[in-house]
Subunit: 255 residues, 2 copies
Amino acid sequence: MHNIRLTIGYDGTAYHGFQTQPGGPTIQAALVKAIEEITGERAVVYGSGRTDAGVHARGQVVNFATASKLPPDRLCRALNARLPHDIVVWEAAEAPPDFHARKSAVRKTYCYTVNGNRYPDPAAQHTELHHPGPLDVAAMRKALQYLVGEHDFTSFCSAKAQTESKVRHLYEARLEHAPVPGMETAPGCGRLFFFYTGNGFLYNMVRIMTGTVLAVGEGRLDADDIPGILAGKDRTLAGPTAAAHGLTLWRVEYE
Amino acid sequence: MHNIRLTIGYDGTAYHGFQTQPGGPTIQAALVKAIEEITGERAVVYGSGRTDAGVHARGQVVNFATASKLPPDRLCRALNARLPHDIVVWEAAEAPPDFHARKSAVRKTYCYTVNGNRYPDPAAQHTELHHPGPLDVAAMRKALQYLVGEHDFTSFCSAKAQTESKVRHLYEARLEHAPVPGMETAPGCGRLFFFYTGNGFLYNMVRIMTGTVLAVGEGRLDADDIPGILAGKDRTLAGPTAAAHGLTLWRVEYE
């Protein structure tokens, strides 16, 4: 058997999340179907992690075992020919037998995109949060720095989550505030990109961190409130869960 | 009567272009309908220029006369509440009586976006041309410089065009090749942005210039061929017309 690793991207708008479940199309089901059409095998596809309904990905990694001898590069082209237009396989490669997309992951990065202009951008309605009004970028950057490090993120985790340990290490939390060169000359181009890199993320953690940092940006919370919110280990202390459609799983790293 | 100037943006994917015509939805028709719902008047809406089916806009400017006394800022909000989600009014203002969106325009800028990665980006399928394969950026920049200046652009104009003079002044033709900071860390983020600024553009001119410059980037044409193509005044000498969906009307400037 060959252990195939795929790096995939998707626009999650039309999907009920990554993981196969009853009631709607999923990224995983689309991959299983395309792999079956090519190899004749019904593979088990492991993802580096779930993404919620409406969440996007650029660097999602999955793996599956197959008896097919198709070279990875041809498999990649064959998959792209069969997958819907909103899912793309950037790369396919043969991985060592013990590679597992979720268990082998050591770092993940998410990007949350916020459009702070008064009116939404018609070209990016499904891939960014429209959040009009002034935001204090310096205060948000200060808030993000409090989140960096190893913490119990219970306050930044959906109360529904059943994970045993809520301790995670956030290596970096960065706010970029720059359009592509020349882009500032047209309306609606200003964007905020929140990049979070960590050893793992709890359920809704990126969306709750972003919702809380946006509350700091609006002045509804103070950046210096963050240590207390972390220490309180209580979801109700943090800000709201930012909408799914602004979130993109950016990159997954392995040893 | 008040002469109202709107700066608008749209995702042109679902439209048969800017200008009202039989057979499909247009931006102009959507604006006329929304204005009528608010003011009760069937206004004549002038655009700075047409955009073809599938072409987008960020800084399109339109104007119309109305007897309505609604302050422009309230009109702007009312229009956005009624327009479809893929059309947005960034700004509304009262203009002098002699302001005309097309006749008063002195400079226009278009942006053509090219994704040169091997596979398309699922998040931007409708707003950029997927054009895989290596492109020689230096050669394309050289080709663009030959286009700058006052020229007869007959070779870069649809043979269907019925304009009398094909002389236009291209002030700037610029190729940006930079992702947003941090963006280069995820797959599929590399982009080429071609910005063209001129006193006016012929039918399909930006798309033919871009198709020709891409042919230079691929090595099918030489940058030094451009002066001869211009001098030949023959559409068949230039490269192909690049697809509509990569094009965005970026900005329109007035005195």
